[in-house]
Symmetry: C2
Subunit: 177 residues, 2 copies
DNA sequence: TGTTTTATTAACACTATGTCAATAAAATAG
DNA sequence: CTATTTTATTGACATAGTGTTAATAAAACA
């Protein structure tokens, strides 16, 4: 429990402010390659040196933003997963609604290599839970299923989420029936 | 015809050498964010200022590398597409073999936003040609099909291409039968 | 209230960017 | 082959960004 003592509220605040700053900047200009520590520190209204006190580099900061998003996503998905008699499509729409709500940030994060890998793992886990519950048998790899859904989600985000969660859910269900 | 006169062989050579340099660097270290004009010019054994004579920035250079790859891919695909009695799976394997052969560079390019969009368009075109020839009817969007295949290809490359073209082709065929 | 922890500041050496003008070199045309 | 045109090279410049350090300030906590 006491292995990592991050007790100081100021340190917690600083990390939060840096994360908020980089998210703000990315939503305004989604070009990750244009990010600099200078700009982030300026937006956070904290000294540039303070940045290096909490993060190794910009990639490290983004990695932590990615982890936060996944904590949030999984905490929102778990109540849905626990309702046994909820059908697949409803579950899928809950998932897609999360995407729709966070579409701007997620579109940027999908350019971050670590994010795609984590999303793949998450999707695979969700598929395994679903398939077990319905006793599906198939020679199809769970990785193939997860990566094809991921491809659809990435396309959805790339195109500015012009389609509704319901449409995407229908297409996915039709694809895998 | 004479709108763009790129007649000088030296200019052509310089562009080629810069492209070769950036590809070499990326295959050694696939982290696009670590690229600098300095390193590329040094590897190309050309002056840094010469770089700016031919490219706006690193992104512009990468974009041109991406275009070259697509020219190559499409020129290799077109003879296969013209053989009418070739079945889908054979055509798919030709496509996947290209991926396998260029897996290292392609894995890097998939981190470049423009590359994913172009690959999506290419896949969609190939699907349209295939579907027309077999008179398939489906309410499934071609975009959904293209993006799901793209997701599988990206997963394949991310995992170091541990599976054969034949295995991936089988999985894709099974997914969409 | 005094001690500990963290943030701030300014400075440093370093790397990288993008541009420019003078010069060199190579290709092409006459 | 020579003269002209085009492109590459070089070194310099101002600017921006990096990563670190040491001294100082400020906030939290005991």
């Amino acid at each position: 429990m006491t292995t990592h003592k991050k007790q100081d509220p100021r340190a917690i605040r600083s990390k939060r402010v840096f994360k908020e700053a980089v998210v703000d900047i990315l939503i305004e200009n989604p070009d990750i390659s244009k990010l600099t520590v200078q700009k982030i520190a300026q937006r956070a209204e904290l000294n540039r040196a303070t940045f290096y006190l909490h993060f190794i580099d910009i990639n490290d900061l983004l990695k932590q933003v990615v982890y936060d998003i996944f904590d949030d996503l999984l905490s929102k998905m778990s109540p849905t997963l626990q309702i046994d008699n909820l059908n697949n499509q409803e579950q899928l729409i809950t998932f897609l609604d999360y995407f729709y709500k966070h579409r701007k940030l997620l579109a940027v994060l999908f350019e971050h290599p670590g994010f795609i890998k984590k999303m793949h793992m998450t999707l695979k886990d969700l598929i395994v839970i679903r398939r077990k519950s319905e006793g599906a048998d198939s020679t199809l790899s769970m990785d193939i299923l997860a990566s094809s859904i991921l491809g659809i989600l990435m396309w959805w985000l790339r195109n500015g989420v012009q389609f509704s969660s319901e449409y995407i859910a229908n297409q996915i269900v039709e694809l895998y029936r």
